[in-house]
């Protein structure tokens, strides 16, 4: 989330937008990452129980991720417009569950929504909070295409860094020091 940990409201729907999947992009993604016959053209997709080409579930997921990156950038602009300093989100850490529920066919439009269902300060990463994010993806008929539960990070606004950690962060910004650290670990 691009909001500070303290400002994140639980169970609030944050719309991420929609995407219409063309056959060309479905096939292009599949050729690169998931070349199974029911994701490609001319390989007999009609013989599968889907009866034709469907998108790789992973394709629908990474497009959802792109929609989230874009929506968070817009939210960041909105907060700046209100004269606020936006929060900082960290890299994704884990996906608890990802359930593919219905196939996405060429021409289908998928609408993505993010809901933060739980949050707590991190024990191992001081200054960061851990978020449980629920992503829903619905097609144009309102059917669930997938549901996901992801773990993400968000920075705490009201956090004073202990001196020891400030020194460590200053040291790791010296070129080469990080390499030494990773060699030790």
């Amino acid at each position: 989330m691009t909001r500070w940990f303290e400002d994140i409201t639980l169970d609030e729907a944050f719309p991420l937008g929609s995407h219409t999947f063309t056959e060309d992009e479905i096939v292009r993604f599949a050729a690169q990452y998931d070349p199974q016959y029911f994701h490609l053209r001319g390989t007999g997709a009609e013989h599968s129980h889907f009866g034709g080409v469907i998108a790789s579930g992973w394709h629908t997921v990474v497009v959802g991720h792109r929609k989230m990156v874009d929506a968070l950038a817009v939210e960041e602009q909105r907060l700046r417009g209100l004269g606020q300093e936006p929060g900082v989100s960290g890299p994704g850490a884990a996906v608890n569950r990802m359930d593919f529920k219905a196939p996405v066919r060429p021409g289908d439009t998928v609408t993505y929504t993010l809901v933060v269902s739980a949050k707590r300060p991190s024990n191992s990463l001081p200054g960061w909070g851990i978020l449980t994010n629920q992503i829903t993806a619905l097609n144009q008929r309102g059917e669930s295409v997938y549901h996901a539960e992801l773990i993400g990070f968000s920075k705490l606004r009201d956090f004073k860094m202990p001196l020891r950690q400030r020194i460590l962060e200053a040291l790791t910004s010296i070129p080469g020091f990080r390499k030494l650290l990773t060699r030790w670990s």
Binding site: F38, H47, F50, G57, W58, H65, R66, G90, M98
Partner: protein, 165 residues
């Protein structure tokens, strides 16, 4: 009869505990930047200078790209050789370490569960444990992935093969 999958291994041909060694792939700067531009356009996946200043400490692939490349290795080494009928999803995906520019990833897929679908006797559910490593043998990503597989004998009495602990 599905002419595409008829000669492939079916649900009955798979064994609990079977381990599949996946191929390997080297992640280049061009691959990282082109994936990021399309699906994960954060500055630290697009620009080496921004990457050096980030938590990652250098240009690294998007976690979703690592997952996508893993899927490609699994598809080439396993899913296109069995009568796969589509993915059901995955669980416990953990990104353990960033995949940096020019790292080579490989890994194994181990069958940890095989069960027949109760509602759809033409399918079985296959679960594999994926363990991906870099060229130093360090874990980069793991997950459990579930996939449907066609059965040869849909009418066969449902048998529970159980899960490995």
């Amino acid at each position: 009869m599905n002419p595409i999958t008829t000669d492939r291994r079916h649900f009955e041909d798979l064994a609990l505990g079977e381990e599949v060694a996946l191929g390997s792939i080297t992640v280049t700067k061009e691959m990282i930047v082109s994936f990021a531009r399309e699906f994960d356009p954060f500055p630290f996946h697009l620009d080496e200078e921004a990457a050096r200043r980030s938590l990652l400490g250098g240009l690294a692939s998007s976690g979703w790209q690592t997952a996508g490349l893993t899927l490609r290795l699994l598809t080439d080494g396993f899913l296109t050789r069995i009568a796969s009928a589509g993915g059901l999803g995955f669980s416990n995906l953990k990104w353990k370490r960033p995949v940096m520019k020019n790292d080579t990833i490989t890994g194994t897929a181990r069958i940890i569960e095989l069960r027949r679908s109760r509602q759809h006797p033409q399918w079985g559910v296959l679960t594999v444990d994926l363990d991906m490593r870099n060229q130093h043998g360090q874990p980069v990503m793991s997950m459990k992935l579930a996939n449907l597989v066609e059965t040869r004998h849909p009418e066969g009495a449902p048998q529970k093969l159980g899960a490995a602990s």
